[in-house]
Amino acid sequence: MALCQVDRHTMGFPEKYDYPGGVIIISINNTQIITVEPTMQQSKTPSNLSDIERIIESGKSPLTTLDKYRLRDLSKISALDAILRINNEELKNILLEMYRANKSITPEELKSIMSYIKSLKAQGALSPVDEILALRALIDMLGESNEYYTNYLLAEMYAVLRELEARESLTDFTRYTPPLTSQEHGGGESTSLYPQFHFPLPQWSLPRLLGAFNISMEQIVTYLALFAGAAGFLFLLRVFNVNPSVVFSRVKHSVYALLSKWFMFKSTPTYITTSDLLLDMYWRSVHVVEKYTRVRLEPSNTHREYLELVRSKLAPELFEIFDEITMAYEMYRYSGSREAGELIPKHYGDLVRRIEAGINPKRG
């Protein structure tokens, strides 16, 4: 065990903290973290499960509502109940097997299962709630006679809760560091400005580091593969002396044209429906023009106003067709001229044919 003198007046000097499982020394600037194995002699650990339950239910607990729900009635539930609440399937199955095999477990079995739990924890595969539930199940499975190991498991549960609490304070610390006041700076309680670490900080392994950035190993591999693919593609373009911007532009236009065609021909008018087929043709043409020009026909816009709105957005030949459609619609709709109405399908067909023929409907 590494020990050094505690100096609370010098910032950055290693400090000593009590830990239920023993003593830890932690460097304040986080350049080196020295942890110690918890000893089995604890002085401040809760003496029974009710104490743990009180901590969980207290307002200061960093647990979420869902976590608290999963840990409800911790002192009263049976080992089986606790096992069934565990989310980690692998751990749940192992504990279930042990539970079914024999009612009380031996110290050797406890040691092996504890080392398994610690390995899961080190991989980041075990949530604190699952860990507490597993420890709770083990307490029941030990039997009442083995007080020494029961206290050990209670201390472990307590350590999990303190770890959670410390994680919260660490997050706060990284967000905001309060400035020193003159009194605090010169006074003896200067260390109170910094988060108080009452627990061994987790070992910084790669999975944990990735977890901090919310990235999994699979994602990293995918990104690397994509990067390699893109780099390879660019290399090939370079080898064959092709301008990348030309390729990207062609791909962009092809995708745009495909999507436009799909939207235009597959989708139906969204807001105007009518049983009159001739009027319906007009609204279909409006829909087509809307999709291409991205100029929306507002409810207060008349057909002529819309025609004016799209005038500058359509190529002259397409505008001419749409103009004819609009005028035919107007005469059919407002003067009842059937002859004019019968022109709408012809012009609509013309509009669609021209677009399908690949005429760029947009001016310029």
């Binding site: 105007i272 409810p299 005028m327 709709r333 003067s335 002859e339």
Partner: protein, 327 residues
């Protein structure tokens, strides 16, 4: 394509009104009135819709010139009255005088007995004289000494007023404003327009004095008849109703548009459609003429009027919000 349709498509936008075509050719194309196309279209619409026009504008924006020019082209009776505070109703309507030769009272008809009456600076006349015009404008008849005299058709009052004068003017009461089919606010010309006007000032003056009537009374009456038979779709009636009703619901308006306003809106829309080459009304006609038919019929809440809220702005707002007929 059907022959009639082919004609309509080819002549799209060309006026069906011979009266307006002549007015356009003689006054706009020959640049006798510069940048006054909309005013001339509206005055012609009012004539064909059997309505009266109030032209409001600051002095010197050709209100009187426009009225005189349009009246000059129409081969109709035309008289002009310059309103003053001491003008009496009998000066406009007429009165009986004793004729010593015949030893009887003889009717001396006032200037109202004409087809086109230009009432210049209407807000300078006393309310009593202004109200003398009411019966004539609405009923198209006048009563002198208890005797009713019908006015000859067509009859149109073109009144002008100056919005900025405060001394010696009598603002028109709401009842009288409602009698005007349209209120046209004449504004300043654009810079190029102003340059053209100043270059041709003498020429314009000479041309207006020498305008010869090119339109006969019968032609006017014929077109008035055609306009009244312009087709209006059921959905247009609905649109007009919602526009008029919404003026009453608007939070800034103390008094909204009346049913008379709705009738006026529809009549003007019909005339506007005819002038623009159509024998049917479209929502665009209603939208366009609403800007001239409705604002002078609305009363804005005084507290908002002080803040600069105008009736024209409210009408613009309503037009841009109310959905047009669909599908």
């Amino acid at each position: 394509m059907h022959k009639s349709l082919e004609y309509i498509f080819k002549t799209k936008g060309v006026s069906l009104s011979r009266i307006y075509s002549i007015i356009k050719r003689e006054l706009i194309d020959k640049e006798i009135l510069i940048e006054k196309e909309i005013e001339l279209k509206l005055i012609t619409s009012a004539l064909l819709a059997r309505g009266h026009v109030l032209m409001e504008g600051v002095p010197g924006v050709a209100k009187t010139y426009t009225s005189k020019a349009i009246a000059g082209l129409l081969g109709l009776g035309f008289k002009r009255v310059q309103m003053t505070p001491d003008l009496l109703p009998s000066d406009i309507i007429g009165y009986y005088v004793y004729d010593q030769k015949t030893s009887s009272f003889v009717l001396k008809k006032g200037p109202i007995f004409t087809n086109i009456l230009l009432v210049d600076e209407i807000n300078r006349a006393s309310p009593r004289t202004q109200s003398a015009l009411l019966e004539a404008m609405q009923e198209r008849q006048v009563t002198i000494e208890g005797e009713v005299f019908k006015l000859e058709e067509p009859f149109m009052v073109i009144a002008t007023e100056n919005p900025i004068e405060m001394e010696g003017v009598f603002p028109l009461p709401e009842a009288q404003l409602d009698r005007f089919l349209l209120k046209i606010e004449t504004s300043y010309p654009s810079r190029p327009g102003l340059i053209r006007i100043t270059k041709k000032a003498d020429e314009i003056d000479e041309a207006i004095r020498n305008i010869k009537p090119l339109i006969t009374r019968e032609e006017v009456l014929e077109e008035v008849k055609i306009v009244s038979s312009i087709y209006v779709d059921e959905s247009i009636y609905e649109y007009v109703a919602s526009l008029v009703e919404d003026t009453r619901k608007h939070p800034a308006i103390k008094l909204g548009a009346s049913p008379r306003a709705a009738i006026a809106l529809l009549k003007t829309a019909k005339a506007w459609a005819f002038i623009n080459g159509r024998n049917y009304v479209i929502p665009d006609d209603v939208k366009t003429v609403a800007r001239y038919v409705l604002p002078h019929r609305l009363i804005i809440k005084p507290e908002l009027e002080i803040q600069g809220v105008s009736a024209t702005r409210i009408i613009e707002e309503l037009i841009s919000k109310i959905p047009v007929p669909r599908p």
